[in-house]
Amino acid sequence: GPTPTPVPPTKPPVAATATPVPPTKAPEPTKPAALKVGLVTDVGKVNDGTFNEFAYKGMMRAVDEFKLKSAFIETLAPTDYEKNISQFAEEKYDVIITVGFMIGDATAAMAKKYPTIKFAIVDFAYAPPIPNVMGLVFTEDQSGYLAGALAGLMTKSNVIGIVCGKEIPPVVKFRKGYENGAKSVNPNVKVLGVYIDSFTAPDKGKEAALSQIAEKADVIFGAGGPTGSGGIKAAAEKGVWVIGVDQDEYFTTFRDKKPGYDKLVSSAMKRVDVAVYTAIANAVKGTFKGGTAVFDATNDGVGLAPFHDAEKNIPKAVQDKLAEIAKGMKEGKITTGVKL
Amino acid sequence: MALALEMKGITKRFPGVLANDHISFQLEKGEIHCLLGENGAGKTTLMNILYGLYRPDEGQIFLDSREAHIRSPHDAIAQGIGMVHQHFMLIPVMTVAENVILGMEITHRGVLDRSEAARRIREFSHQYGLDVDPTAYVKDLPVGLQQRGEIVKALYRGADVLILDEPTAVLTPQESEELFRIMRSLAGQGKSIIFITHKLKEVFAVADRITVLRDGRVAGVTTPKEATEARLAAMMVGREVILSVEKKPAQMGDVVLKVEDLQVRDDRGYMAVDGISLEVHAGGILGIAGVQGNGQTELVEALTGLRPVAGGKVVILGDDVTADRPREIIEQGVAHIPEDRHKHGLVLSFPLADNLVLSTYYRPPFAYGVAINNDAIDENGRRLIAEFDVRTPSVYSLAGTLSGGNQQKLIVAREFSRPIKLLIAAQPTRGLDVGSTEFIHQRLVQRRDAGCAVLLVSVELDEIMSLSDRIAVIYRGKIIGSMPADKATPEMLGLLMAGIKETEGSAGDRSDR
């Protein structure tokens, strides 16, 4: 698996877009022909603001860095997964990235059919492992747990909220981690949660957040792509604390100090881009191995983004407590208690 | 006399039909000019061209001796042409007033002034003796009153040339008389009127001049003085026509239809048929006379299963069919010529052949089991079209492309094409030309002579009197009187239709309802 350099969780040196996390050196100059890398999205598009987009970004970073050839197919229906993967296989692509746990079965089938092609799949692990597939999985619950702890420490009303997208395993893990994390630091806290049946309904996310605020929530975690972002943006403008997801939303949703930017206390990161980049980099360097690469707190695949402009309003005690939890989590002393 | 209007060399083609073939037509100022012709002769087409609804393929129109370019009804109205259409141009869900002012609205600071409109229309319609309630919704009005609304609408627009396309088809004799009075008074005020009708008596009653069309061409121009009914009929049809119905005395058989104390509600929930009892015998024709809108529609719909019955009983050949569905009633051997041919009679987007088997498609020879036999359907179509002289390019033409008269023949052909024991005919010759009327009348009598019971509902007194063996008059949902046909006189019937029973003397109130 990959071996990212450890960094303190509260202050990762991670600038959202250009993150030199993985331990790869520059590409070997003597490489004969550039690898061809293909990406098959989950139902959705490569710029839809969900893990599809982050996977695509990770791929593009590798492509730029190693001068690879790349292409993508945006999947329209679950019945098309296999077809889209085999499309790349037939075009003799060397590495195929597939995105999402839904595409797991199709990826396994295709990997067996094309054993010489290297596959990497986001959010899926195989047991037993398949030799030419690298499963890239994340401990979203850890990320959510940290966010929950932060929220639990920050809340004055003892009510916090989470606006989720669809009820799918990664989201469920974020939510449960969030709840457990909050309770761990603040047993009296009440967590309000909403699932919204779409990742691209920021208007509904917004109403959900406002509704939570009306029920006294004063920290809102948006865990559902653009839907969640819609929620935290509205919440931040209303003046409550908010937490972003996946990437550091200070650079996306609140880019250029959009209203409420100083209310973003952090983001619960899940570096799909890093994972995809790592997988491709391994393939380029010839270190690609089948199996499961877990991106968790120990290797900074997940964790909290910096506090940015909210830092001055976050009490030192809170920062310390959070650092302590993060450290415990890294050392494996603190578990989230989330089981799916 | 000065010409109000002249049409020269008008030609109009429809796909497969030459509707107007170099027609020339002159209308003098202040005259009532009758336009005659068989169904499909091209009368309506010619008038639609004059009114700007159709563009002619060739020809010119002159108004007051100047060439007029009429591209739309808007132009026509602007040039003083008004038209009352054969098929009403009223919007059912709007009030009479809204219909009348439509396009020439009365507004007050941008807001429709409905009360002012109603006031003006009341005043206006009073002036011409065309009473109609401006606030009534058109869909709630009997056809006769709708017709009045149409005329008011045309006059309201200040028409100098008024086209009336078969306005009397839905009127009672009294209403028609009323209309003629209005027409004469309008003509007296200098308005010129084109009047289309199929009733030759009316022609002689009002016309100053007559133009007869046949097959899209002018067959001749004449005056009532020079012409006779027989001559006009021959001109229209191109052969001699027997104008009176010849019929043998009835050979009455058993009771086929027995109605007991029937009650039926109309669409608005009012009791439109309020306790009617009647009997129709095999081999006899019972005529139901009455002004439009006195429950005839509901009565017929209830008898044929199209409308639920609110009370009472309907028995056909000993079977209680009160709650039966249309199919069950049809299978008892009941045929029905419906009053509204577009709504009930035809599927306009189906070919003629299919329309001719609309109620028999599921039985041999048209279908065996679930499988339809299209060849048999086509063959049946060809046979009936020939037999009933339906003018059409082929059995595959869509029913919607036929002229009104031909559509009616199509329905009659269908209903007569199967073995029937009871025929319910509602306004069977409405809008039909003399030739077709003659034809349908003969067929009705033929059926009766073959032992079929016939219930004839008509607003045409002539039709009722010449065909029926017994006549009942319907008034406000009740049978107000009945008598053997040979005892009936037009005066008696007219009074009954107005709701006046002989016993009550002449004091009863006259009403249009």
């Binding site: 598009k45 603001g49 909220g161 909403v194 920021p202 509704s211 | 919007i91």
Partner: protein, 407 residues
């Protein structure tokens, strides 16, 4: 006894009421209270069990009255009121031992009803003139995208003011799409449902393409339209918070509902429009230009759909996502039919959807022990029930969907 619609409703309400009362009496802790938030009036505490039993009894009573024909004309209003009470019961139940903010929820209902109401107005304008418009969804989506794009580019120079031009652009985009629909269905006499379908698909493609090509690169999150408090009115308790502390498009929607009703039923243009939609030939025979009337109305409808699109990207969110209209255009159609092609009726339908959506979110937040999928189903299910139970057959304009042909 004939099973008429009121009777069926009566039985339903009766049974529901009894069940509610029995359940509450048996299963709810008498000590539990629910705190209801009523805006500036603060909060009200009610005993959960007693309230629920009472509402259950009221429900049964209304059912009995309906059963014995006692309600007649008051049937619909009564049952709607009672149904609202039952909604309240649902919330009292879900929030027992805790609190729920009622006024905020009603305000949210109005907000969420806004694009639906505007969409249904768009439908009404088109369809009252005889042109079916199932392309509302597409018009909204395209408008959301283009309005946002204009805002994005102009804000480089104009700053926050650009959003108003963006809104104008959204409105005009709706109008443009509608014009396309009009040309296809009026000039080329295309089947109007085909044309509407084409517009829906085109909007998905065009907005997605635009987003890919220009909008996402910028990572731009725009301003949104500001909240405008209506002077004086905004301070009215409860009503102020619901109606008069909103963003501009909500007000525009309210005004347009009234205005549309006024124009349709009280002006010459409206009369002509309805005439053209009912019986174009008759309208033609009195000199009304059927084509022109239809063009104008369809485009006006499109402008409203455009405004609805603006609600998404410019008033609510400040960004554009693929398919962000999320089927609201179709819901708007349902609201339009629901309201029998009248502005007020459609507005009621839109409110029903808005309310149900707010309710769904609220019940999830209150942690009601019902799978969230079922909560999300509520508005759809409610629509079917209300339609079947109370409204029944709706009648479109007679000439809706039929191209007009001149010989």
């Amino acid at each position: 006894m004939r099973l008429t619609r009121p009777k069926v409703l009566g039985i339903t309400f009766l049974v529901l009421g009894i069940l509610l009362s029995l359940y509450s009496a048996a299963r709810i802790d008498p000590a539990q209270r629910t705190t209801l938030g009523v805006g500036t009036l603060g909060t009200r505490d009610v005993p959960a069990q007693a309230s629920l039993v009472l509402i259950g009894l009221i429900t049964s009573l209304s059912g009995i009255l309906a059963l014995f024909d006692r309600l007649r004309r008051a049937l619909a209003p009564t049952l709607v009121t009672v149904a609202l009470l039952d909604m309240l019961a649902l919330m009292i139940w879900a929030a027992r031992g805790s609190s729920v903010d009622l006024v905020g929820m009603l305000a949210a209902s109005l907000r969420m009803a806004t694009p639906i109401a505007l969409g249904s107005l768009a439908g009404i304008w088109c369809e009252r003139s005889g042109v079916i418009n199932i392309g509302i969804e597409g018009m909204m989506l395209a408008a959301a995208a283009f309005g946002f794009a204009v805002n994005l580019y102009l804000s480089q120079w104009l700053g926050p003011r650009a959003i108003w031009i963006g809104l104008l652009a959204a409105v005009l985009t709706g109008g443009l799409m509608a014009f396309f629909h009009a040309v296809l269905s009026i000039r080329f006499k295309t089947d109007q449902i085909i044309s509407g379908t084409a517009i829906n698909i085109l909007a998905v493609g065009a907005s997605g393409f635009l987003r890919r090509a220009y909008l996402v690169k910028a990572y731009f999150v725009g301003e949104i339209l500001p909240i405008v408090n209506v002077p004086l009115l905004a301070d009215i308790p409860i009503l102020g918070a619901i109606f008069f502390q909103n963003r501009p498009i909500v007000y525009m929607m309210l005004i347009l509902v009234v205005l549309t009703n006024f124009i349709l039923f009280f002006t010459a243009w409206g009369l002509r429009t309805r005439a053209v939609g009912e019986h174009p030939l008759a309208a033609d025979t009195v000199g009304i230009d059927v084509f022109k009337t239809r063009y104008v109305n369809v485009v006006i409808g499109g402008l409203m759909a455009g405004l609805a699109g603006g609600w998404f990207s410019l008033e609510t969110v400040g960004s554009f996502e693929d398919l962000m209209t999320g089927g609201k255009g179709f819901i708007a159609l349902a609201a339009m039919i629901f309201g029998n092609w009248t502005p007020y009726g459609a507005f009621m339908g839109a409110l029903l959807f808005g309310f149900a959506e707010a309710l769904e979110i609220k019940l999830q937040i209150l942690d009601a022990p019902i799978p969230h999928q079922f909560l999300t189903m509520v508005p759809y299910f409610a629509t079917m029930v209300v339609l079947a139970g109370l409204i029944g057959r709706t009648v479109p304009p007679a000439a809706d969907g039929r191209p007009y042909e001149k010989q």
